[in-house]
Point group: C2
Chain length 235, copies 2
């Protein structure tokens, strides 16, 4: 936790923050905070600052807050991702948040197993947990938007064009002939397939929407490596 992410409900009438539960445990156990210490804090979707610890008890901790800086600029990047299996999806939501992606679209694909859509990890609360952990890691405050689209064809036909407008649309495809470009200027929409890749019909749909199929080389990266590798390369 490189930043304590605060929510409006953490703030009392005097403008002080009160922590309990998971965050308290972490601040006491890992940061070993004492009264007087200054900790890095951020208001959700807001500024970054510091919290001076004024009181610690077994059930809570109080901090006086001051805010002075803005969260890091996000890369202009939308990631469209075929829904990974549940355990991987949790890690991927965390990772994409750490990497600064502010719009994540989880879509269906022929090679996505139907059962994946039933996972409790897709419920709002579970998704939000990973996003919060990601912001705490990255020292950021801006929650990504996560869109879930269970039907491939309506998504491609009705929404894909608006998501790529003004952006460079790239499709990560292990067997593409073209190497992924470096340091692309401006906004990017990056589509990434499931294990085994998008099927030819799906690739054609993306191509039809203007996506260029690109690869990182001969190695087949797992999704947890492919996402940071792709994002770091294009930004």
């Amino acid at each position: 936790m490189n930043l304590i992410l605060l929510f409006p409900e953490d703030i009392d009438a005097q403008g002080r923050a009160r922590l309990a539960g998971r965050r308290l445990k972490h601040v006491l156990g890992v940061h070993r905070a004492n009264p007087g210490d200054e900790l890095v804090v951020g208001m959700v979707n807001g500024a970054i600052g510091s919290g001076r610890v004024t009181e610690i008890s077994g059930t809570g901790m109080t901090m006086e807050l001051s805010f002075g800086s803005r969260p890091p600029e996000p890369p202009l990047l939308t990631v469209i991702l075929a829904l990974p299996r549940p355990k991987v999806m949790r890690r991927v939501l965390f990772s994409l948040t750490v990497l600064g992606v502010k719009r994540i679209v989880l879509i269906n694909s022929f090679r996505v197993e139907k059962s994946y859509w039933q996972t409790p990890f897709l419920q709002d609360e579970a998704v939000r947990t990973q996003l919060v952990l990601g912001l705490e890691q990255a020292k950021d405050t801006v929650l990504p938007e996560v869109l879930v689209r269970k039907r491939f064809k309506p998504f491609v036909e009705d929404e894909l064009a608006s998501m790529t407008r003004g952006a460079v649309p790239l499709l990560s495809h292990p067997y593409a002939g073209q190497l992924c470009p470096r340091g692309v200027e401006g906004a990017i929409t990056l589509a990434v397939g499931p294990e085994g890749g998008f099927i030819p019909y799906e690739v054609e749909q993306f191509r039809g929407a203007g996506f260029a199929a690109v690869t990182l080389g001969d190695r087949i990266l797992n999704i947890e490596n492919a996402l940071p590798a792709l994002i770091s390369r294009v930004r």
Copy 2:
């Protein structure tokens, strides 16, 4: 498993491969292989080819082999890494193998907890398991070399110079002023610190050995994201 990695002990006197155990289970359960199918195989530290399934029983599977291509060219990259906590280390060994790194050096640092050195995940067999899984994922055959150096100072004084000779030495440091360069030509030696970073004394030792401190930006990446992001950027 995008490639079945074969070892000399898998090959019988007629040059056929016989699989059992984990690999058999995967090939039957995930690939749903049948007699006559062709599967991608590779000899450890050797060529890539195909295995035609000739026989399947409950306890084993036999394949006729032919080899025709070389494993992907590895990036000329040595990664020196402060030992992460055990669970992370397992994933990191897997990831670095997937990313094609062929020399991994695990070192001590002030912020590495002593207990991490006791983990069973550092034992040869456990390390090798992650390397094999990584090669199977990446479609590669060449096992990385993993060096374990439990003492920081002797490592820096006696070995670091030889590891950086002829290479561009880069130290990943979240608070460095200089952005990590892109697409560096030639060999690279990349040093990456523990959670919380190397302490100033350690940073000075690396600087003294010619390392330039570089960063990926304002976000604090966890090691699982930082490694693919760094490697993809410099290669």
